[in-house]
Amino acid sequence: MSAFEISIRPFGVHAILIEWPSQVEEVILDDILRFTRYLNEASLKDENWEVVPAYNSVTLIQREYPIDFNEFEIKLKKWYGEAKEMATHKKYLWRLPVCYDSEFAIDLPEVASYLNLSESEVIQLHTSHIYTLYCIGFLPGFMYLGGLPKDLEIPRRPQPRGRVLKGAVGLAGKQTGIYPQQSPGGWNIIGNCSVPMFDPKKEEPCFISVGDKVQFYSIEKAEYDLHKIEGEVGIYKLEKIELDA
């Protein structure tokens, strides 16, 4: 049931931006993904289209030729109407292992004291909530997750670090996430995920898609080390649960 007022605008000559109301809402994300699925499966099968969903928007990028915007806008409106017949895309809940050991959780003591919680309460809160993936960007495989409990909201660090480890799990503002590769970063680091979020050696380098859900679970250092070895030889197993549409 597509029921939103959408805006369709040109974004240069090679792209079109479609926007929904500017809110972080799951019903909006579901509507975007329903439409995205319709476009991918029905009308934009041509491989020269890239479809990038994020929060309240989807950007369609045509790599080969300039888009005739006026003509395409009419088609998109028609397709948006047709897409409401479509079921929502399949969603998965991914359970991701995180080691909250002090070796990785370099900011956990500070985070706990800022939030007036014990370290184990921070971990308990972080692992008990289910997060929604609203966008992938910034770095290959970097997740923008929504749904962080208010009790875990903490500002980003005043001075970003020059180097944050690959797999580092952080908190910043209303967000939590994983650094998919070593990079500079300003998030408060509370653990490390043993599963690579991006692996260029795989045909599908990033297993997760916008709209999926994430839940973290706590693992011991020994299990973390085992996952790491499994990851290197490419036999790590991911826990995923198919959710009802």
């Binding site: 240069g12 000559v13 090679h14 928007s57 790599r63 260029p200």
Partner: protein, 279 residues
Amino acid sequence: MLKVLKAGLFTTIQDQGRYGFLNKGVPVAGYMDTFSATKINALLENKKEDAVMEMTMTGPTLQFERATFIAIGGANISATLNNNEVANYKVLKIGKGDILSFGKLESGFRGYLAVKNGFQAPIVLGSRSFFSSITKKNHLQDRDVVDYIETAVFNPKITELRLDSFLGENLLKVSAGPEYELLNDKQLEWLFSKEFTVSNENNRMAYQLEEKIPGHEISMLTSATLPGTVQLTPSGKIMVLMKDGQTTGGYPRILQLSDKAISIMAQKKYGDKVRFKLK
């Protein structure tokens, strides 16, 4: 094999770019100056997906170990083949052991070298374009080797292109970006009346400009960005995203460069001036 005797400042292999993974946060990459790179590929009658070498300011010194044909283009970096000056946009015959080197930067910023049938750097996620965290190398280093296919005979339809150089152009043609309408009159006036200087913060990801325009307090949800997207930070700093730029961003996207303007920008270096002109 092509032997990299000296790598130069920042030399990479680039093709049209890496598509199909933008929704997973993978930047397009690919040659920064599409205009120049595609011209030399065309001279060699290469396929459009064939990879070229991109060099930045200081070119490499290269030794060819097999016969082939090459063409160079983009920036003028005083190229010599076995110590004889060679011109841009001309098909050159290469013999075993020939040495191509580059000297003083005369104009532009990024030079290109195409070889018959393209450089055979490994294909990762559908592209040979170097990008850190995706490909093994993010730039070539001294003593690296790059593979290419031997070609003894080639009769080009055209042996030389005469192009009006665009390297001195500084007018960037743009269209309105998605958040253009949120700009106020003062910001618009500054944006289109001022000349902007390329800051030393410029690379394959983005070009920052030195002069600021009045800032803003616009807050928006993170959304897709493209090569050529011009972002405005709250403090009024202007950033032009380039080929390695991130796929999403949270700053207002005020302008979008035309394809040609991206090529013009790619040839600018620290201290060069640019202006924006709405199409």
